[in-house]
Symmetry: C2
Subunit: 279 residues, 2 copies
């Protein structure tokens, strides 16, 4: 199911069972899409990893080292998803972080998900999850290894026709999907939820914000989002995907979604057969 | 730093780097104190693990199997702390739990912490942590592998004279210490915080509640706790420990603390030199 796995630079899937990444989820990860051996959003992934390391006080590996290991891991794959996991390494039992940790670095390549032209064109069917995300400002925005909320949310449905679940916080504000960030276009203005108390600050979300200068980052009550003109998901692995439905509520892909999909193609992502903006 | 480690019954520290326990913290653990090869609270640990498995929909291993592996791992150690970690095993990339997981089972023995007679007699100095625990009813009470909150809280101080940090929720209600549960004796009544929205439902807390029929489980505002007659911590590893101070506020060990310490000795824990209840 996976390709090459490098643990601290060695081609070896074995990790110490005493690693703090396992014991406590004490670490971070990045999931990076490669196309023809190139990761168009690589710089943003490295920036986020750097910021996460600063917040968790983990030493950031040299980007040049990660580049070399990434190239080695994806070698021979036309399309790949690379997961970089960085943990605080093996330490004495107990929560106290070792003063000078020896981090564990895992670089693993996986096959990219199959291109789904109909998802890109018509959108994804989604559902609203029952689970609500907890508010924890100390961890909000980070792509850390504590992901049981997402596991429980994703376990809420089995229907393969439902591609994603949308998650609210405890106050009924929409935050994200289980594996993607979310934008709503409301009266022509793109809005994406602020992630000050929960959620993951996605790399694709950052790229979308960079090309949507008029976009607002703010609280987004679910009811307001359900009245949006367009709803779409941003994912570093799957790109820009319209939301076709949230439970029974139907949406149509709109011009902001199409413009971003075109931008994604210009970045180098070989998107499936998606209609051009005004073709 | 550790003794024997068994991964799925094999004496081997190696774990797959693709285990969901590492990828997502998708699993549970127990930390069990052994004295002379016996774990006085074993049955309670097994009960909690069983309940955690039911809530996370993980298959519970046979208790007889865990018993055998525990005995093997602690063999030769007079005192030991055993950590049992149970994860959802290796799965395809993505949050969706595999429909029929092959769990990973890690049984690892560690040296027990040195007996600390002065801590048992006079109590621990503690501090109030800045970090506040997030409210997540879906995970509250579970001893799951998502423990970044505890890691961040424990990283708030380095002073070795401070043995523990106390944690409130976002509403200023006291919940626990970073590695222990907490009781306050208020007007003669033992009170321990309810754990419906956050915290870990400790095995030592359950034992203490079983021998304190008059105890209340309820919300405990920090200010009320700071006015208590007695404050003590319960830990399956360290037993019953008085709180001597929370920052500048001083407490004295009281009769409920001493009675529980005596109960712990009767359970078989060789407590350090603690004064007898009325000796």
């Amino acid at each position: 199911m996976s390709g090459m796995v490098l643990v601290n630079g060695r081609e070896d899937e074995a990790l110490s069972a005493l690693d703090r990444g396992l014991s406590y989820g004490d670490g971070l990860f990045e999931t990076i899409r490669f196309v023809d051996g190139v990761a168009p959003l690589w710089a943003r992934h490295m920036q986020r990893l750097q910021e996460g390391c600063a917040r968790l006080r983990l030493p950031m590996p040299a980007v040049s080292l990660l580049e070399r290991e990434a190239a080695l891991a994806v070698q021979g794959r036309v399309d790949a998803v690379l997961r970089i996991t960085l943990t605080r390494g093996v330490g004495a039992r107990g929560y106290a972080p070792p003063p000078e940790p020896t981090p564990t670095r895992i670089v693993a390549a996986f096959p990219a998900p199959a291109a789904d032209a109909s998802a890109a064109r018509d959108g994804l069917r989604t559902r609203l999850c029952t689970l609500r995300l907890a508010a924890q400002p100390a961890l909000a925005g980070l792509k850390h290894l504590n992901r049981l909320e997402q596991v429980l949310a994703r376990a809420e449905w089995n229907d393969p026709a439902i591609a994603e679940g949308l998650l609210c916080d405890m106050h009924g504000r929409l935050i994200s999907a289980t594996m993607a960030n979310l934008f709503a276009v409301i009266d022509g203005v793109p809005v994406t939820p602020s992630l000050d108390t929960c959620g993951v600050a996605g790399v694709a979300r950052a790229e979308a914000l960079a090309v949507l200068p008029q976009a607002q980052v703010r609280e987004l009550p679910l009811q307001e989002a359900l009245g949006a003109d367009e709803l779409f998901l941003t994912s570093s692995v799957r790109g820009i995907l319209p939301v076709q439905a949230v439970d029974a509520k139907i949406f149509a892909p709109g011009p902001v979604t199409r413009m971003l999909q075109q931008h994604w193609r210009r970045l180098g992502f070989r998107a499936p057969d998606v209609p051009m903006e005004s073709a």
